[in-house]
């Protein structure tokens, strides 16, 4: 039996229910994932694939229309779904932290940087204002912000986008969490800054022994940053495994299509390979496999029954094409 993973999701499902209970959007459906300590997991998918909902589910910060309808959420051996709201608050920011996409919007415009960085330290560790501000200064230095002491007293709008994202990063690691979830943290940054930021994240990870869940739609970043990869489609994990393996030999047609759609210089053909069709309506999914309507390798069975997740060599694929291996469970 492998050592207990840091984070383990088992058949987790989150549904949004409309006000009258008539429409059910299956935003996250039957997701099982593992993240080991110090590991980086990349979660990839189109918008609407459920990546963000999954992240919010882990932190249990969903809007009231959402219900976690099934599954287990194990973090450091505890089931987070069984915790009360007060207990979850002690988890958030302290043991699991999250970075959002838009750094400008993430920071409160009316409070100083110092105030906002020191805040979680004061709340979670009960530090005094002086001690917390001192820590904040050190944190700013750790995320490579020049002249941190002056910055502490400045306001968010006085910083550049890249700096703001680092500050958000500083806030995230301020209480030494074990797991950091980054939801598209580089999407709103300039290209030139992206690389710097990614390097920073990797450094922080090594220095603090952080596990990182990196949510993105950019496969290039996944290739550089991640150890493991999970591909999501229509709320389900359709393929998962070590990054090298998935990139080299993708099983699920969707993963294959994603990898093919990255234009390569060596590619002789003139056309860009796009994936046909539109993402499905999560409230009215077709029977069988959710990717069926757009799948180039679809066959009869796909349209009738939804494939379970088939395990193979440390990875899994939710596709009938992979049915040569063992199934993970009777979950469908």
């Amino acid at each position: 039996m492998s050592p207990r993973a840091l984070l383990e999701l088992e058949a987790l499902s989150t549904h949004y229910v409309s006000a009258r209970g008539t429409r059910v959007v299956r935003a996250v459906e039957d997701v099982s994932l593992r993240v080991e300590a110090g590991e980086t997991l990349g979660i990839v998918g189109e918008s609407g694939s459920g990546k963000t909902t999954l992240a919010l589910t882990i932190l249990r910060l969903l809007p009231p229309a959402a219900r976690i309808t099934s599954g287990r959420l194990m973090f450091e051996g505890e089931d987070l779904l069984k915790k009360s709201e007060a207990e979850m608050r002690r988890v958030r920011g302290k043991r699991i932290a999250m970075i959002l996409q838009d750094p400008m919007a993430s920071l409160n415009p009316l409070f100083t940087i110092g105030d906002q960085v020191a805040e979680p330290i004061r709340v979670h560790e009960g530090a005094s204002r002086g001690a917390a501000w001192k820590r904040a200064g050190e944190l700013l230095k750790a995320v490579r912000i020049p002249s941190p002491q002056t910055r502490l007293h400045q306001y968010p709008h006085e910083m550049s986008g890249g700096m703001r994202q680092r500050i958000v990063g500083a806030i995230a690691i301020s209480c030494e969490p074990r797991l950091l979830i980054a939801d598209e943290p580089t999407t709103s940054l300039d290209l030139t800054i992206q690389a710097q930021y990614l390097n920073l994240l990797r450094e922080l990870q090594r220095a603090h022994g952080l596990a990182l869940i990196f949510i993105t739609h950019n496969l290039g970043i996944v290739a550089k940053m991640c150890d493991q990869l999970a591909v999501m489609y229509a709320g389900r994990v359709v393929e998962a495994g070590p990054v090298r393996q998935v990139f080299r030999a993708p099983v699920h047609p969707y993963t294959r299509a994603l990898l093919n759609s990255i234009p390569r210089m060596s590619d002789k053909s003139q056309r860009l390979t796009a994936i046909e069709g539109q993402p499905p309506d999560l409230a009215a999914l077709p029977p069988g496999c959710a990717f069926g309507p757009r799948c180039p390798s679809v066959f009869d069975r796909c349209r009738k029954t939804e494939p379970p997740a088939f395990v193979h060599e440390g990875g899994l694929a939710r596709c009938w094409l992979a049915s040569a291996g063992d199934t993970i469970s009777g979950v469908a």
């Binding site: 709340v123 979670h124 306001y155 709008h157």
Partner: protein, 306 residues
Amino acid sequence: MTRFIARRIGYSLVSLFLLSLTIFLFVRVTGDPAVLLVEPGASQADLDAIREQFGLDQPIWVQYVSFIASLAHGDFGQSFYYRTPVFELYLTRLPNSLMLALAAMAFSLLIGIPSGILAAVRVGGFWDKAGKIFALLGLSVPSFWIGLVLILFFSVYLQWLPSSGSGTPLHLLMPAFALGWYFAAAHMRLTRSSMLEVLGSEYIKLARLKGLPEALVIGKHAFKNALIPVLTLAGINLVIMINVAVVVETVFAWPGIGRLLYEGITFRDFPVVQGVVIMGGTMIVVVNLVIDVLYAVIDPRIRLEA
């Protein structure tokens, strides 16, 4: 930024111009201005004398220029009833209206802001529904009726509060409530929607992600941001309060400019009426200007843009 201020001032000047023009034209065009500008019960000779004095035979634009000129000098004419310059009369009564408006504003904010926050934080809950009813009542129940009912209850039946006049804080209670009533509902509505907007923002999400207790999220992060538009509105509403207090001041015989306006109407004292209206309009335009400029100066984000 100076360019912004200059543009804004220019804007206000145009408004003032249009305002004075409107008032001027209405007087000249709808009815015989001489009748208005003269005391009630005047003879034909008096009318002719007035025509002469105000140059009512002269071309319109000449009249307008002299009108503006006298306004600029603070000459709003003389009250028939009080036999004092209107401007002086206005200034003596203004502090009373200001005091009433401040009390009413305090009341409206004390009721409006907390109830708005409660309604937003518990959307759809009891407080929100109660708030909606309150908002509706604020809009539908006229301030003067509230005043009359208050008098009935507290002065006539319970005999706790004086029904008219001014002088003690007790005199202030009922008029302030009656005047503030409508604005309390308005401030509640704005606080609620502002709070809802703030609660949906990213930094609130992050505050929760930090694991901050809910009280801190709402009391510190949301509160300050939500309050900004409300306080801005309150500033403008203060001046509006001063001007629409006519009926409340009449009901409670409160010696402010609202009452002055009422007297002007009742005694057919037109210079007073005209003076109060001009001053009222000017006050509002000026206050709007000041608030806009203050905003630009204080809020560093606007300063950087402008």
